[in-house]
Symmetry: C2
Subunit: 142 residues, 2 copies
DNA sequence: CTGGATGCAAACGCTTTGCAAATAG
DNA sequence: CTATTTGCAAAGCGTTTGCATCCAG
């Protein structure tokens, strides 16, 4: 029912600043998710350098518009990626090694509107955790 | 105060220290997830007080054994809950308001072993993000 | 007696915020 | 000119770590 029309962007509020567009472009350019620090490192130089605070501030704006998604590493560091990219991971709870998953198990899932409570869903995060082979062995025979 | 006698259920690889059992019990006692700080607040007093570092250290051990799961708030704070509890949330990216979901869309999901890469899955985190009604209005008409 | 667990407090790293200057409209 | 946005650096915050001590086995 909520089939999105192919219309590019009829979003009510699509006012992206130049900085925000640049962040979004940079995220799109990268195959992997990028942390705030990563983005700052990539955008600090050039003709229109961007400060760290600005990176974070605009990242938040993008996220609030549903254009960017973030996931937190066990370390607490946040990684950002375009919302359109629906990729998830398998992470070792011991050493932190990460394996990207091929597809998203909840892709296109639709939450019962009864559970939405007026929310407008923008994106989701799904991460699997476990023990990688080396760490599993190390745990069983220290 | 407990029965230190040779427990009947001598489960293999289930060597939990008293501290770890206490953390697990405290998590089980709570309806909601608890942060490291929360747990410390609850376990700092009493006959067998537990320091903050110990809370975090044992929380990690429990997590590495798959008995406890953690999710990170957008703020970076980590919330812990027993792995058995399979509850997820819908969080507002703007104000942070959180709504628990009734059921887990990926409950009992089985990842293709081809994708596991030797991993032993322990638990997953699934969180939905969006805009709650009040924030959506505020965003459209500031 | 030996290895692991614990407390305390300092250290850490990422993120946020205060404030004045720069910029947009 | 008023309203925003930005930079810089300081502050904030939960979490982690070093180290001496304590406990179990």
């Amino acid at each position: 029912m909520q089939s999105p029309s192919p219309a590019a962007d009829a979003s009510p509020t699509l006012v992206l600043s130049a900085r925000q567009q640049r962040l979004l472009a940079e995220l799109g350019r990268s195959d992997d998710e990028l942390s705030g620090q990563d983005l700052h490192a990539r955008l600090r130089h050039g003709p229109d350098a961007m400060g760290l605070a600005t990176v974070y501030r605009n990242l938040r704006h993008l996220q609030q518009r549903g254009l960017v998604r973030s996931r937190h590493l066990p370390s607490g560091e946040a990684l950002f990626a375009p919302t359109e990219r629906d990729r998830h991971h398998l992470t070792c709870v011991d050493c932190g090694f990460t394996l990207p998953l091929a597809d998203c198990p909840v892709h296109g899932i639709k939450l019962p509107s009864a559970q939405l409570g007026g929310f407008q869903p923008l994106f989701h995060t799904l991460e699997f955790f476990g023990l990688c082979a080396p760490c599993r062995q190390r745990q069983q025979a220290p």
